[in-house]
Symmetry: C2
Subunit: 339 residues, 2 copies
């Protein structure tokens, strides 16, 4: 199929840029040094490509993602890097057919007495202690990690180590400053690890995957797709994700409108970009833009909208299309969205 | 089912507030004076409730919405208030079984030679001329509307009148200023209507539904649900839409985290609100908030997050749950999302 045949808006993934990104990352963080985060793409077809590059352990943010990865045969080593108040659906996976075949391991993050107790109550077997390393979100105090590990082991849970997400440091643009701040952040995680033990020191993301040399696995996800925010500091990755749109209206006053609205993308990082044009604003089902050049677009013209934040953009779509030039290679369902 | 049994995040619709909103609007704009816009809720179960309040004509923003409304038996009088560069899926609906039973009318917006020609080429029968009334988006110049209508009629299309969306005036807070500006905006639409003819002068939205006395039908949608932006000027409507979440982490430093992230809501109008708390920030799957009171929340507590923009919030969810107090009354699939 040719790309012109796609109904729009359509999420498209440039095959060459995508393969470049996966190869580059697999060279830097081979095998289990990377635990790709599926929350960025919510797509088991894409995760299969990551496994083909040598990564067999994955990070998830939701139970739905865990369920989908198990259903796709990708559940051998999953880390649900998030707390839950009800782990019964994890227990269901652990007693399912895939688990009976020895094909499922789900490690759940816990950061409090309550979440340890929930894990034990609901039949979870494996946990990591989630440590707050500076981002005001989840994670226990570093000095409380050892006690929580002891509590977890006392309830029969296997504690595999620690995790901590330095999300507040992903966009620090000065390399030396970022390095120092990540080191200080990871010092908290390593201190907690001393008290907790276990084989995992899991942290990081696309923005810190090169500088974070203290974690023994990195939870990066965006690198596969990229977005305009990350492309300010691309680390050698290429913009692979775009939204194909169609021009539906052209004003004599200099603007044009395409069918890629704010329901087709995440808006938390602001407006998207269109090459050769200034984006004026997005409405539910429209993007209004002003072309920079002399040529006015025409109704029916195709454009590519580059989203500012890849993760929530993918979650707006039922599928993404792998494309090379004008050719559509594959349709990949976004099968891990929802909750 | 009780509300505690819902997996979170869950879109919930307060039945009493929702019925209040529908009754209030049906009193102000009875029957065909309101053409409810389904883009706000993307839900045929909800549209059926609107029809029960006397509204039998509906506005759509996408072809998928049109298809879903026809499939649900709600296609007797649909206005696709948007331009398309490919109308073949509309033609397919017009030759389908529902159309054969006389149950389908789809009026398509056109604003250019190109979109008139596409409508005629693809087998559309009914159009309105979309007129730009001040919002820099779709719509022809008012003085071009008559010529476009003539072109459309020359190609065998039935021209039902004009539409124009004064979206830039929805949030004007001073009533007198809003009235004057809507009047000036609608003067353009009425001028175009003089040249075009036809029975429809379609315009407006929740923010102008009372002040716009010039259009003969109003395309409001948000009134059924409401959001924190509209609640700054609620016009007597009540906040009916919320996102039920679960607290998963509580920090000794004063913040807590629930599982209602930015993938569960539209972020284009900024952060959501939580009663009795300050929202600090949203991540993909988390909202971090600081409770105002003395009482610290506990893991497992349920909270209600009020979204800043209802339309894209609904589009993030597979279903919404109609609730009254602690009771879940119905599950309504969000069956019109996608494209």
């Amino acid at each position: 199929m040719r790309i012109e045949a796609l109904p729009t808006p359509a999420l498209v993934l440039d095959a060459d840029a995508f393969e470049h990104n996966l190869a580059l990352m697999a060279g830097r963080l081979p095998g289990r040094r990377l635990r790709p985060h599926v929350k960025a793409h919510k797509c088991t077809s894409l995760a299969l490509r990551q496994r083909a590059y040598g990564h067999s352990s994955f990070t998830c943010a939701t139970i739905r993602e865990v369920e989908g990865m198990v259903a796709a045969g990708l559940g051998q080593d999953l880390l649900l890097a998030n707390e839950v108040a009800d782990a019964s659906r994890i227990a269901a996976l652990l007693s399912g057919a895939a688990a009976a075949a020895g094909d499922v391991r789900i490690i759940l993050a816990v950061d409090s007495d309550a979440t340890v107790d929930i894990a034990a109550r609901d039949g979870v077997r494996d946990v990591v202690i989630d440590v707050n390393v500076g981002l005001p979100r989840c994670g226990c105090l570093p000095e409380d990690a050892g006690r929580l590990a002891q509590r977890a082991r006392g309830k029969g849970l296997t504690v595999h180590g620690v995790m901590g997400y330095e999300g507040h440091l992903m966009m620090v643009s000065d390399p030396a400053e970022q390095r120092d701040r990540v080191e200080a952040s990871m010092a908290k995680l390593l201190s907690a690890h001393t008290d907790v033990g276990g084989e995992l020191i899991s942290a990081g993301g696309t923005g810190t995957h090169q500088v974070n040399i203290w974690a023994n696995e990195i939870q990066a996800g965006s690198y596969a797709l990229m977005d305009t925010q990350y492309m300010q500091h691309p680390f050698g990755f290429r913009q692979a994700l775009g939204i194909l749109g169609t021009v539906i209206s052209v004003s004599t006053k200099g603007w044009a409108v395409a069918d890629v609205g704010l329901k087709a993308q995440g808006m938390d990082h602001g407006n998207p970009s269109i090459q050769g044009a200034e984006v004026l604003f997005c409405s539910d089902e429209h993007v209004t833009f002003r072309p920079n050049g002399e040529r006015r677009p025409s109704v029916g013209d195709r454009i590519i909208v580059l989203p500012a934040h890849c993760d929530p953009t993918v979650a707006c779509h039922e599928a993404m299309w792998l494309v090379r030039g004008d050719q559509v290679l594959e349709r990949w369902p976004v099968d891990l969205r929802g909750w």
